[in-house]
């Protein structure tokens, strides 16, 4: 798992994999995942850095959750290598918890199980969940559960925050709040963020990099360039893309030069169009 493969990229000059910067938290190098003969993910290359929000989007069954399992180490790749920073602290926020109703567990107890009290107090304040502390975790609403799970994730003082469909079952206002909060937390904690979503609209605005996944990386880059990519349009339809274009237009935050080569690679093979790290 901690095997480093610096020579691989040097051996293959055609693959434009940059040397791993000091801040790379997780590096996926030509990762494949199959169950029996069923190929779930093929040829995934991805670097996750501190202070960067990467969103994975894709249709149902695209392998988004499998990719998350690989990155957080719940699963091992069939082929390829995943290199993690040594002793990487990961804060993981699952889609939901299935806790048996027979387990009497208040939110306070749930949170205090996994960290010291000063971290607990900070997380409670930061996510303003004081009023939920005595509620049984099984009775939290979708939005409340998200905040509690996020509190739990930041209690790990994570270097990488991984969120699997964080907006599921949360209304639009709640989603906007959540993404805004993530944007702030990223700076407070100085951590990298990896999010999974099949919801295209609000995600884009808070994201530095978008990875469009359909068993392979369809395209990868800054939100605006991805939303114009032919493969993306094919997957999600032009209307969805226009919605996003309209939405992101309202935001004036700066994007860096990531992904601006996507257009030129449009006609090339799928497996190459992900290497647009500039």
């Amino acid at each position: 798992m901690l095997k480093t493969t610096p020579t691989l990229s040097a051996l293959e000059p055609k693959k434009l994999i940059p040397p791993m910067p000091a801040t790379a938290l997780v590096q996926l190098d030509r990762v494949n995942l199959s169950f029996n003969d069923n190929k779930v993910l093929s040829d995934i290359n991805l670097n996750l850095h501190a202070n960067e929000i990467v969103t994975v989007i894709g249709p149902n069954g695209a392998g988004k959750s499998s990719l998350v399992s690989l990155i957080i180490g719940l699963q091992s790749p069939s082929q390829g290598s995943i290199t993690r920073k040594k002793n990487l602290r990961i804060g993981y926020m699952p889609q939901k918890l299935a806790i048996d109703p027979q387990l009497p567990l208040s939110t306070r107890r749930f949170l205090s199980l996994c960290g010291n009290s000063s971290r607990l107090q900070h997380a409670i304040k930061r996510l303003s969940i004081e009023c939920l502390l005595n509620t049984p975790v099984q009775k939290l609403s979708g939005g409340e559960m998200q905040r509690v799970l996020l509190a739990r994730a930041i209690m790990q003082n994570p270097e990488l925050l991984v969120l699997d469909e964080p907006a599921q079952g949360v209304d639009v206002t709640g989603q906007a709040e959540l993404y805004h909060l993530l944007g702030e937390l990223r700076h407070e904690l100085g951590c990298g963020v990896l999010m999974v979503s099949h919801d295209l609209h609000i995600v884009m605005a808070q994201t530095d990099q978008v990875l469009c996944l359909n068993k392979h990386v369809c395209c990868h880059g800054a939100p605006e360039s991805v939303s114009q990519h032919p493969e993306y349009l094919q997957l999600f339809g032009r209307q969805a893309a226009e919605d996003i274009a309209i939405y992101t237009h309202h935001h004036d935050h700066q994007h860096d030069i990531h992904g601006d080569v996507v257009e030129q690679q449009a006609a090339s093979n799928h497996s190459h169009c992900s290497h647009n790290h500039s």
Binding site: L74, I90, L97, I99, D100, L103, P104, L113
Partner: protein, 259 residues
């Protein structure tokens, strides 16, 4: 009070105390069917013990532990770990046990294995049961936080560095051992009730995982006292009387307004 009654009481209390927290985990993890399968397999242990002429308790323990290992292995492939497979295993083990015990001849008192044989425990049995129960209880206490985190969400716990697979194995082996020794108290057919009924009754009265576990131990002990009292005065079988008392306590908790 006659000696045999004191030994029986001490053994049953020890089992009830450890069955409290262990039963809570069985309820939280939905392992009731696992418990049943282990218990039914224990009868096969009786037959094997007689056949190999080794100590019966040792044979039952070994049988339960190997069955737990098999179940643990089967669970690795999710499509096999379902109810029907456990049902198949459970009842095949029970049938195999019944057939092989009967093939051993008439020397075996089947009834005592099916429904427990509490009143025949002697001093050495009691010491053994108490020692084993305290050891299992100790293990549960030491790993309590890790066990609890694994139960709440296995993936979350794994990412946070909890050895979830190990905790699961620990839990199943602890259940196997307690089932093997509790067989003496309530018998094959009622062991799971001894684990589950006090825990479920305690759930209705408590607000935290710890209080539910301790409450289950206390309810188990009350049930033991009531069952033994009934058994002593009305000559009812001890094991079923204890389980019936625990069920009675559960029915009473139904009247408490649940919050």
């Amino acid at each position: 009070m006659p000696d045999f009654l004191i030994y029986a009481l001490i053994s049953a209390f020890a089992i009830a105390i450890v069955a409290g927290p262990l039963g809570a985990f069985v309820v939280w993890q939905r392992l009731a069917y696992f418990g049943d399968t282990l218990a039914h397999g224990a009868l096969l242990g009786v037959a094997l013990g007689l056949f190999a002429s080794i100590n019966i308790t040792l044979a039952i323990t070994l049988c339960c532990l190997s069955l737990a290992a098999i179940l643990l292995w089967l669970q690795r492939s999710p499509q096999l770990g379902d109810d029907s497979l456990l049902g198949l295993l459970s009842h095949s083990a029970l049938a195999a046990g019944l057939v092989s015990v009967s093939l051993m001849g008439n020397s075996v008192d089947l009834f005592s294995y099916l429904f427990g044989d509490l009143l025949t425990t002697d001093a050495s049995d009691t010491i053994l049961i108490v020692t084993v129960c305290m050891m299992v209880l100790g293990i549960l206490c030491v790993f309590w936080r890790k066990l609890l985190l694994s139960v709440i969400d296995a993936n979350l716990a794994k990412v946070e560095g909890i050895p979830v697979a190990l905790m699961r194995a620990l839990l199943l082996f602890a259940i196997a051992i307690v089932v093997a020794f509790a067989m003496r108290v309530v018998g094959v057919l009622l062991i799971t009730a001894m684990l589950i009924v006090p825990a479920v009754a305690s759930r209705r009265l408590t607000q935290s995982p710890e209080s539910m576990a301790i409450g289950a131990s206390i309810i188990g002990c009350i049930a033991v006292a009531m069952g033994m009292w009934a058994s002593y005065w009305y000559a009812t079988p001890a094991g079923p009387s204890i389980v019936l008392a625990a069920s009675g306590i559960f029915v009473i908790t139904l009247f408490k307004k649940h919050c």
